[in-house]
Amino acid sequence: MKWLLDFLKGKWLKHPLHPILVHVPMAMWPSALIFDLLSRWNGNAMVRLSFYAIAFGLIASLLAVPTGVVDWSGIKKEKPAWKIGLYHMILNLVVALLFAVNLGLRVHTYREETIVVGAPLALSIIGTALLIGSAYLGGLMVYDYGISVARMSKKKWRKIAEAGGANLPQK
């Protein structure tokens, strides 16, 4: 099991996996909304592109889930980042479900449809809004609370600090 956890944490890559994988849904779903809006002028090409973007985002988001859960489980429960992580996770589940439904609504029509309106468009708008909120929370965990920061480079920095004459904690 440890090898699997280490794999999901990205130790083999020296880089956490979750923030890499999330680029895809994070880019695809807001882009799908943009394509939806552009369908007004560019017709079926944009309807199709939006469909592909939602589908690709869903596949990548499924891959991102286990890596995110592993990263989150490494945070101590009493830290503020734990709660942020929980909200981030719940919001992401909602967003993924919304886009799954969204995809289902389009699957039979995207080849011919020339404009995205109604429920699919509404789902894209709501999904994107929630996604931006959720992704912001994920970013806050890294840039405000330092989750995963200097986790894999700890030894390197310890050496630099040691050479710089710093007081150090026991190994």
């Binding site: 890559l13 020296k14 880089h15 956490p16 923030p19 890499i20 999330v22 680029h23 895809v24 994070m26 880019a27 695809m28 807001p30 882009s31 943009i34 560019n42 079926n44 090409a45 944009m46 199709r48 592109l49 592909y52 973007a53 690709f56 985002g57 992704a135 912001y136 970013g139 806050l140 890294v142 840039y143 405000d144 609370y145 330092g146 995963s148 920061v149 200097a150 986790r151 894999m152 480079s153 700890k154 390197k156 920095w157 310890r158 630099i160 600090a161 050479a163 710089g164 004459g165 710093a166 007081n167 150090l168 904690p169």
Partner: protein, 280 residues
């Protein structure tokens, strides 16, 4: 003000890592559509779709480049991550250049049933380089803490490290730091005196000197923020009293080394530590 905005200070989150999702995702989508045009011959217009995804990707990349460049100039010139950042920046410029060419080449074949070999190869090379570059960008954050906690800092950070020496006698002496004179409140210097790396801060008109490295994961305290006499590490928010070096808030558990600051002949001087035997 514009610099603060581009660094994402109003959002408590740097802008560049938010924006880069879009070029990365869209360029990958474009390649997938190219590959799809070979796999699904009966699906029309995939070549055109790939073109649009790429066009949006280039626009998004150009937007992301602006805060990225500001972030780059903000990295201390002798920071171990600076070279990684230079490679990241250079690779990204190459990638955008390649996609610009790619877009031009394929614009005349939008009605083709499958993507021509030339643009396809350009896309493959583009994604390969982008993967390396994106990886380096991630290493900058997760290894070197670039952009982490920077929004908490209210003043600019040191541009480089000042290298000073005690002279040859090896005794504990006071080393003048003339650059400290021009510090404003809550600004810092990063100083190295015979190997010892020290952060000097001006707080409420007085100077305080303490070890540069946080005792938790060794984050840069010369880039930390100050509240009263506390310095807060930008990485994981450990706090220390700069007068005593004591931990006032975790996760750090070990106190900082502090150094005396005295005025000798009207010059601000740091009490450089006695030379210790260099351990190899």
């Amino acid at each position: 003000m514009l610099k603060d905005f581009l660094e994402g200070k109003p959002f408590r989150h740097p802008l560049h890592p938010m924006l880069v999702h879009f070029p990365i995702g869209l360029f990958i989508l474009s390649l997938l559509l190219d590959l799809g045009s070979f796999a699904f011959r009966s699906t029309p217009n995939l070549v055109r779709d790939a073109f649009y995804a790429m066009l949006l990707g280039i626009i998004a990349a150009l937007i992301a480049a602006v805060p990225g460049f500001v972030d780059y100039t903000d990295i201390r010139s002798d920071h171990p991550g600076k070279r990684t950042a230079t490679a990241h920046l250079t690779l990204n410029l190459i990638v955008v250049g390649l996609y610009g060419i790619n877009l031009g080449v394929r614009s005349s074949t939008l009605d083709a049933f499958k993507t021509p070999v030339g643009p396809l190869i350009l896309s493959l090379v583009g994604i390969a380089l982008l993967s390396v570059s994106g990886y380096l960008g991630g290493r900058l954050v997760y290894d070197d803490g670039i952009g982490v906690g920077r929004h908490k800092r209210r003043t600019s950070t040191p541009e480089n490290t000042l290298h000073l020496t005690r002279g040859g006698n090896g005794e504990a002496v006071f080393v003048p730091v003339p650059e400290a004179e021009s510090l404003r409140d809550r600004e810092t210097l990063r100083v190295e005196i015979d190997g010892q790396v020290i952060a000097i801060a001006k707080l409420d008109g007085n100077f305080y000197a303490f070890q540069e490295f946080c005792t938790h994961r060794f984050g840069p305290l010369s880039e930390g923020d100050f509240e009263g006499f506390n310095v807060q590490c930008p990485w994981h928010n450990s706090c220390f009293d700069v007068r005593t070096g004591k931990v006032t808030n975790g996760p750090a558990k070990v106190d900082l080394k502090t150094f005396k600051v005295e005025t000798h002949d009207g010059k601000i001087c740091i009490g450089a530590p006695r030379a210790t035997e260099k351990s190899s």
